[in-house]
């Protein structure tokens, strides 16, 4: 997958996240397409480019989000860095592993987001937090499976066996 492809996929994901994805909300919770893009970018480019694209995804999320702080801009590149370190020890060839990685970071994201919001005085009740955490993580994970399938099907060049 080319970097420019991913760059535009992130823009499209941000636009969809703010518009059409709202029609697929489940108990007022929607999947985080930009977090999926961050994981995708970090696995596709385990280098500075992965972090840069994650930064781009985080900045777009913050611009379109309702919270005042720019927390995604700060934490998405950190997730990217963590994924790059993890991917040096674990191979994420199987889609199921990539999906599990998305679940892990979606969970981490909700916890960190709540901590940041509480530290800024935006109190979120425990019930609401649990609803968003459980449903949000599961929903993001389910959608990420589609993302990775599409990536494998359309965006990854087919590997051909070398001539012997």
């Amino acid at each position: 997958m080319k970097k420019t492809h991913l760059f535009f996929i992130i823009i499209i994901s941000a636009l969809l996240q703010a518009t059409l994805v709202n029609y697929f909300r489940f108990f007022w919770v929607k999947p985080d397409l930009l977090l999926i893009c961050t994981v995708l970018a970090s696995l596709a480019y385990p280098s500075g480019w992965g972090i840069a694209l994650s930064f781009w995804a985080g900045a777009l999320k913050d611009i379109l989000s309702g919270t005042n702080a720019g927390m995604s801009t700060l934490i998405f590149p950190a997730y990217s860095l963590a994924i790059i370190f993890i991917s040096k020890n674990i191979t994420f060839d199987l889609i199921i592993l990539r999906v599990a990685l998305v679940f892990l970071f979606a969970l981490l994201d909700t916890v960190i987001s709540r901590l940041i919001l509480v530290s800024q005085g935006n109190f979120i009740a425990t019930g609401i937090f649990l609803r968003i955490t459980v449903l949000g993580c599961l929903y993001t994970t389910a959608v990420s499976y589609l993302f990775f399938r599409i990536q494998e099907r359309f965006l990854t060049p087919e590997r051909t066996a070398p001539d012997v």
Binding site: A18, I63, S65, G66, G70, M71, T73, I124, I128
Partner: protein, 257 residues
């Protein structure tokens, strides 16, 4: 064990500082970003509206017929109410009561919603160049939906009444009981700080009290669906169903007094 070199550590520190700086600058960058994203967002909305119009042609036709019937009935009601309003105005002037100010309404279209799950807001296609200011109340003809959080030149962000940070002084239309309405990030909102003996019951209409500076008095917020005791047991809460379906807002009116 992995030992980062001095150079790597410097790179890392510079990158971290840059990110920290940029994340704090997001509120400053956001208006320009929203102005840039306005055109693609409007385009996506346009395509979606047209698509819905075609797909739901039949239901739209049935709805149109129903609305036409409603409109005829409401027009007749409006005439009667106009008469009453004029009579009311005459009587008020006779009593020398202070007249309620007339409001200037600005219509705007919703072009996007929040990208995260931690807030509830919409982005509208009118900004400071169209006379929209921070703090203006946002309504539809059915009732209150929120307030303007901030504006850029051509767009504004409107915090909806179900946002966890939203709070407004409200009053029960029937019993005049006051309380504080706040959001739950869900389909309903909560009226808090009601005393134990508060006269409030399901189906009561909740209106803005006019005590919160930016909101005119008497705007419908919603109707009570349930009344319960608060967790501490010191006061009661009322669960309110907003008058406006917050998940389907397409146009808003911004109130400037």
């Amino acid at each position: 064990m992995y030992k980062p070199s001095k150079k790597t550590l410097i790179y890392f520190a510079v990158a971290a500082l840059f990110l920290l700086f940029f994340s704090t600058a997001i509120p400053t960058v956001r208006p320009q970003g929203l102005n840039l994203l306005k055109i693609p967002l409007v385009l996506i909305n346009f395509v979606r509206r047209e698509f819905y119009g075609i797909v739901f042609y039949h239901s739209n036709m049935v709805q149109k017929e129903r609305f036409k019937r409603d409109s005829d009935y409401l027009r007749q009601r409006l005439n009667t109410l106009n008469e009453i309003a004029m009579e009311n105005q005459r009587l008020k002037s006779l009593l020398s009561l202070k007249q309620r100010q007339a409001y200037r309404l600005t219509a705007a279209r919703v072009i996007a919603r929040q990208a995260d799950n931690w807030s509830s807001m919409v982005i509208i296609d009118k900004g400071s160049f169209n006379g929209i200011n921070k703090g203006m109340a946002a309504i539809t003809y059915r009732g209150l939906i929120g307030k303007v959080m901030d504006t850029s030149g051509y767009t504004s962000r409107v915090m909806l009444i179900n946002d966890a940070n939203f709070a407004i002084s409200a009053i029960n239309q029937r019993s005049r009981q006051e309380g504080l309405v706040s959001g739950t990030l869900g389909g309903s909102i909560v009226m808090r700080y009601l005393p134990q003996e508060a006269d409030i019951m399901p189906q009561d209409a909740i209106l803005t009290s006019g005590l919160s500076g930016d909101y005119p008095k008497g705007l419908l917020i919603g109707t009570v669906t349930a009344v319960a005791e608060e967790f501490s047991g010191l006061s009661r809460i009322a669960i309110i169903k907003p008058a406006v379906d917050l998940s389907g807002i397409e146009e808003v009116l911004l109130v400037a007094s």
